[in-house]
């Protein structure tokens, strides 16, 4: 507010076009991005060549040339498509679960006054400090305990239910904070009207608020989807059933210590597994950038 009035107070001048205003940022950005551009260019080149020297594709003897499609031959492997489907199912289920749980909690934290609200928010931030790998063994004990309890044993060790719940939990710190921010930014007139009319909290949440935070849902879903798409350790460790293998398994299979490794093929599989996320990003970009516009706004 203060800033605004200060600027308003200064005498109006005719807007001058800044000749360097666009060029300088662009140049700085480009400079920072050089390693990335070179690196990504290399990844792409290397998947189409036998070997590389610097950025130059070479054949096996080291002479320029050596372009090949062989590294992409994995696309013909039927297993790949099954794993891709598995991964897609896992990532989607995870994303839906994270969205549901986080949006409910985010709503309560933003809209309902209850004891322990602030401490819950504060402590969910701390949760970020516990990566799944650190808690793996401890989580195993929890799942084993759940397995022993009759009614909820379907969320125990060696069940899909357990894997999904653990995966959702790891995403909660981020999800709850993002969602809370989005709800904060929604004007509450609509909701107030509905509540005064006798509409229940749940119905208000579902029918009035959820449509309002679509950008937030898109934003959180890309972060969750990325995590689900690349997850390996949790499904691997807590499921003994091999049918649930995911796409990262495929890459592991190509990189065994005592078996031939074609690193260019690994890069090709990596690029392939990147594509769905890139598409996801492009289509949700508009919403993604709205994390703040709608959300992340804790400050009133």
């Amino acid at each position: 507010m203060i800033v605004k009035s200060k600027l308003k107070a200064s005498p109006q001048t005719i807007p001058r076009t800044f000749p360097w205003g666009k060029v300088i940022p662009f140049t700085i950005l480009l400079a920072f991005s050089i390693p990335l551009i070179l690196g990504i260019y290399w990844i792409v080149i290397s998947t189409f060549s036998v070997s590389t020297r610097g950025l130059v594709p070479v054949d096996s003897a080291g002479n320029p040339g050596g372009l090949t499609l062989a590294n992409w031959s994995f696309l013909k492997d039927p297993i790949l498509w099954k794993l891709t489907l598995n991964t897609f199912i896992l990532a989607t289920t995870l994303t839906l679960g994270v969205l549901l749980v986080s949006s409910m909690a985010g709503y309560a934290l933003a809209r309902i006054n209850f004891k322990g609200r602030k401490s819950f928010l504060g402590s969910t931030m701390i949760l970020q400090a516990f990566p799944a790998t650190t808690l793996l063994i401890a989580t195993y004990f929890v799942l084993r305990f759940i397995s022993g309890v009759p009614l909820i044993s379907i969320f125990g060790y060696d069940t899909m239910g357990g894997v999904i719940l653990v995966s959702i939990s790891t995403q909660l710190p981020l999800g709850i904070w993002l969602m809370k921010g989005f709800f904060d930014a929604i004007p509450w007139d609509l909701e107030r009207a509905a509540l005064i009319d006798g509409c229940s909290r749940w119905r208000t949440f579902r029918q009035i608020l959820i449509p309002q935070i679509r950008p937030g849902i898109a934003a959180l879903s890309i972060f969750s989807f990325i995590t689900g798409w690349s997850s390996f350790l949790i499904p691997f460790s807590f499921m003994t059933n091999p049918d649930t293998a995911v796409i990262s398994t495929y890459m592991n299979r190509l990189m065994q210590e005592t078996a031939p490794v074609n690193y260019s093929a690994v890069a090709a599989v990596g690029l392939f597994s990147l594509l769905p996320v890139i598409f996801f990003f492009i289509f949700t970009q508009k919403y993604l950038l709205a994390i703040f516009a709608g959300g992340m706004k804790g400050g009133s």
Partner: protein, 464 residues
């Protein structure tokens, strides 16, 4: 009010339960005579025979079982994770009674899984296991050592490998070595007449004469791995005292080894900052005949032939250019060695697998330990065989590399079955890397190793 909120909570718990219940995998009661044996292996693309052998063997075994009224199905699970995650998964599953019936694992885990009761002993002595089946009698004698623990036999060897020192025959030729001298090199190395010192000297000479580029005289493995312990052993080291079940550090051997690791850089036969070189770069460099000496594994030949030199002759190119020998000794006149890391099949206990098919599992293992099935794996993955009869079995003999390196098993040493070995190795490795990069002097490196091991291992270490 409180009660109401409780009802909410309970509802929240129960509703998804029923939603999920439908999706839970059903475990149908098996027919009275159908038995499923599950086998877990860790396998890459070329190593699938680790599990497929069981599937094939089951066909054979089912012929026998027909009269007993049993139909056996094998479910082979081929995992791709690293050893750490694979072992963790097995431990968790075994504790929960959901382990496999047969596990393919590194021999060093016998002590670990034996003491926790996850696996069962198969026989009380080597004689007994050999008497159990002609297939087991065929296993190479020396391999039973590493399946023994507390006087009992706990596993059946699956495969093994050798870690040779490769050398470029064509480069040695350029250096003026006669074909006869080159052909005799493996033997000279085995006898201890050609030492690590000689290797450095030869490398320096090759660089001086321009046969190889500076820094390409000797390339070790580029990353952490038990392979480096071969040079500690080469200077008279000892890792393990079986009688006291303790790890051992021989200070003099450690110092000499560290001096060697530093010397290869100061003498210019290995590049500065070499450790950490990307595997892809390492393979590409050595397979294209750029280095004079390089330490690797027998399975690397297959890797080079299919991934790096496939368009300039593959295997033929490799045999034409490279020879392979044991790892040279550091002490003249002492026989050379190399390290093997055999994999074994173990039979999982009833409490850990949740099944009582142990006897069937052992019978299945017999059918898997045949020269036909094992050679499929050995040839397909570039690993050494485990059976005496394989030496004469034509498909195995036709694999030149495998048949020419099988003798290396007679010079093999194994890493110990000790739970503190990872700590032991990481202390040796961390300081070796610091010494090679001149962050520490060899003497400081040795002192640092002892200091760390005293805290981490303490009583379980003998310092000589």
């Amino acid at each position: 009010m409180k009660r109401k909120s409780l009802i909410f909570l309970v509802l929240l718990l129960i509703v998804p339960l029923f939603l999920f219940a439908g999706g839970d995998q059903e475990k149908e009661a098996e027919g009275p005579k159908e038995v499923t044996i599950t086998i877990w292996t860790k396998a890459g693309e070329t190593e699938l025979w680790r599990g497929l052998a069981a599937v094939e063997a089951a066909k054979e075994l089912n012929k026998e079982l027909e009269s007993e009224g049993i139909v056996l199905t094998v479910e082979a699970v081929q995992e791709t994770a690293g050893w750490g995650d694979f072992n963790k998964k097995f431990t968790m599953a075994s504790e929960a009674g959901k382990g496999p019936d047969i596990l393919c694992t590194g021999h060093e885990n016998i002590a670990v899984y034996g003491s926790t009761g996850y696996i069962i002993p198969l026989a009380d002595s080597v004689e007994e296991i050999k008497a159990m089946a002609p297939e087991f009698d065929d296993v190479i004698e020396g391999l039973w050592d590493m399946t023994s623990w507390r006087g009992q036999i706990w596993g059946i060897p699956q495969d093994t490998e050798a870690r040779p020192m490769f050398f470029s025959k064509t480069k040695l030729n350029e250096l003026g070595w006669s074909d006869a001298k080159i052909a005799a090199l493996p033997d000279e190395i085995a006898k201890g007449n050609f030492t690590l010192d000689d290797m450095i000297e030869t490398g320096k000479e090759a660089i001086a004469k321009g046969v190889v580029e500076p820094g390409y005289g000797y390339w070790s493995r580029p990353k952490s791995g038990g392979d480096f312990i071969q040079y500690y052993m080469a200077y008279g080291g000892q890792i393990y005292d079986a009688e006291q079940d303790k790890l051992v550090i021989v200070k003099d051997a450690l110092l000499e080894w560290y001096k060697f690791q530093r010397r290869i850089v100061t003498e210019g036969v290995t590049p500065k900052n070499f450790l950490g070189t990307d595997w892809g770069i390492w393979h590409n460099t050595v397979s294209h005949n750029n280095a004079l000496f390089f330490a690797g594994g027998v399975w690397h030949f297959a890797e080079w032939a299919t991934q790096h030199v496939q368009d300039i002759g593959g295997m033929d190119y490799l045999f034409e250019n490279f020879g392979y020998a044991l790892q040279p000794t550091g002490i003249r006149g002492v026989a050379a060695q190399q390290m093997s890391h055999p994999l074994i099949y173990v039979v999982v206990a009833e409490d850990s697998s949740g099944n009582s098919n142990q006897d069937l599992a052992i019978r299945l293992l017999q059918k898997m330990t045949t020269k036909e099935l094992n050679t499929n794996h050995a040839v397909g993955s570039g690993h050494l065989g485990i059976l005496k009869s394989q030496a004469e079995y034509t498909p195995y003999k036709e694999d030149r590399l495998l048949s020419e390196t099988l003798y290396m098993l007679d010079y093999a040493f194994f890493q110990p079955n000790h739970p503190y070995y990872p700590s032991y190795w990481s202390a040796l490795w961390t300081n070796m890397e610091a010494v090679q990069n001149a962050a520490l002097t060899p003497e400081e490196g040795v002192a640092a190793v002892l200091e760390v091991l005293e805290v981490e291992i303490g009583d379980a270490l003998i310092i000589k």
